[in-house]
């Protein structure tokens, strides 16, 4: 990066959009913002994962609940983040909670859908075989159905995580926006450009890192999926 900066500065006047010196000078602010962004993302996706699992089971048990849950989720999903966070703010005040709850709602939509699809995708004869071997329904769920649905569930967690990272920035509205904070508090100043660009770069980097980590987790948790791919290749 230092090399990149020296190349850029050799080309002409200091770059108003990105400067490594600016990043170094604001290191502590940037690190605090990144930390907040990561913590809010983990809280929202974690909460959504915990809540979505029983919802998905409920939807599979009662098909009428499925269409109700999916319709409600679809409606909630279309509400803009700015509006949802604003709507939650009088309830929670200036805290991270309006942001976490709003982002949990969005992540829920992706997760419930993927969980239902993943569980529905488990072949019926595999479930029959497990029951035939004397597995109880709950043991069938945990030892057979959930592991087989894992690729779809983890794909849902990846989508939810990457989109949540970008969405955290909207939390600047209540003072908890992670990197969104650097955009807003220096918005009017000329230096705002560097803040906005740094926030975009930061979000993309965080998203790529999170995506790669979750992909590795997915590979580690579902080794059979990779083995099968190797076998067919």
């Amino acid at each position: 990066m230092a090399l990149l900066e020296s190349v850029v500065s050799d080309l002409g006047p200091p770059n108003p959009w990105f400067s490594w010196d600016w990043v170094v000078a604001n290191k502590s602010d940037l690190l605090t913002a990144v930390e907040q962004q990561v913590l809010i993302t983990i809280a929202a996706v974690g909460l959504a994962t915990i809540v979505s699992f029983p919802l998905a089971l409920l939807a599979r048990k009662f098909r009428r609940a499925e269409s109700f849950i999916l319709t409600l989720a679809g409606v909630l999903y279309t509400i803009p983040a700015l509006a949802l966070i604003a709507a939650l703010y009088p309830l929670f005040g200036f805290s991270a909670w309006p942001v976490i709850v709003a982002l949990t709602v969005y992540a829920l939509v992706v997760l419930v859908r993927n969980m239902i699809v993943g569980l529905d995708g488990v072949p019926a004869d595999v479930v029959d075989a497990a029951r035939g071997m004397g597995f109880s329904p709950s043991r069938t769920l945990w030892r057979v159905e959930v592991p087989l649905a894992l690729p779809a569930i983890l794909a849902g967690i990846r989508i939810a995580t990457v989109s949540t990272i970008g969405l955290v920035t909207v939390g600047y509205l209540v003072g908890y926006g992670g990197l969104g904070q650097i955009i807003s508090y220096q918005f009017q100043l000329p230096i705002g450009r560097r803040g906005a660009v740094a926030a975009i770069i930061g979000c993309i980097l965080l998203a790529v890192i999170a995506d790669v980590l979750l992909l590795l987790l997915q590979r580690a948790l579902t080794p059979w999926a990779r083995r099968r791919r190797v076998a067919t290749a």
């Binding site: 509006a83 906005a196 975009i200």
Partner: protein, 240 residues
């Protein structure tokens, strides 16, 4: 609650520059311009790439990472560019950037999912590549292409709320204004207006999708049962 109702039914809020009709129009015009711009760029590119089945991995990769770009930051970046400045142009450009990845990926995927046999038959009849694209691939892929445009449209209209932050008005202005002066009636009225606009648009487009499905005899994306493989592939849907 009664405050919100009073605000929504106050005739003063239904006329003039800051009135609900004007703000709604502003909201829709900005969204429409952004969508048009994104479609002019994305659709031809995705159709050609889909026809040749090239660049799919790159497109899907860009689509996934693009999900993480905060639209709010993109709009602010455009607003802070000297040649653009604060105003509706910055929002249009920011929203267009936001709309590009889902349009590219959905259109590309739609074209590549066209039945191989139909394409082979068209080629066997002596159609040129251009004819295959125009007369076979696009018509057969149309329901899916339209579904992608619908999803993107609703997302763009939802995201246009950010226009309030860079002096472009929109319905989002009631939210930010209300929040900054602690007028919760105005803020909640804004939340309700934006939410209703998005949900109504979403339902309308779903209806159009169903009509298209009835005419073409193919299931809509919403009603189609999604396969496990599809669920395991990240698809480009995002809210901001």
């Amino acid at each position: 609650m009664s405050g919100i109702w009073a605000w929504l039914t106050d005739p003063a809020n239904w006329s003039g520059e800051d009135g609900i009709p004007h703000r709604t129009l502003q909201h829709l015009v900005i969204s429409g311009e952004a969508l048009l711009l994104a479609m002019i760029v994305a659709l031809p590119a995705a159709l050609v790439l889909g026809h040749f089945r090239r660049g799919g991995n790159v497109l899907i990769g860009v689509g996934n990472v693009g999900r993480a770009i905060p639209t709010y930051a993109a709009i602010v970046t455009f607003a802070l560019t000297d040649q653009i400045g604060v105003g509706s142009l910055a929002v249009v450009l920011g929203l267009a950037v936001f709309a590009l990845p889902p349009l590219l990926v959905n259109t590309y995927v739609a074209v590549t999912q066209v039945d191989k046999d139909a394409i082979d038959a068209a080629k066997g009849m002596g159609m040129t590549g251009r004819q295959v694209l125009g007369k076979v691939e696009v018509p057969l892929a149309f329901p899916l292409i339209f579904a992608g445009i619908s999803i993107t449209t609703v997302q763009v209209v939802a995201t246009a709320t950010f226009g309030a932050l860079v002096g472009a008005g929109t319905l989002g202005l009631y939210i930010t204004q209300g929040q900054s002066v602690q007028d919760y009636s105005e803020m909640y009225a804004g939340v309700i207006l934006v939410a209703v606009l998005c949900v109504v648009l979403d339902r309308l487009l779903a209806l159009v999708q169903r009509l298209i499905a009835r005419r073409t005899g193919r299931p809509t994306v919403r009603n189609r049962r999604i396969s496990a493989e599809e669920a395991a592939t990240p698809i480009p849907v995002r809210v901001v």
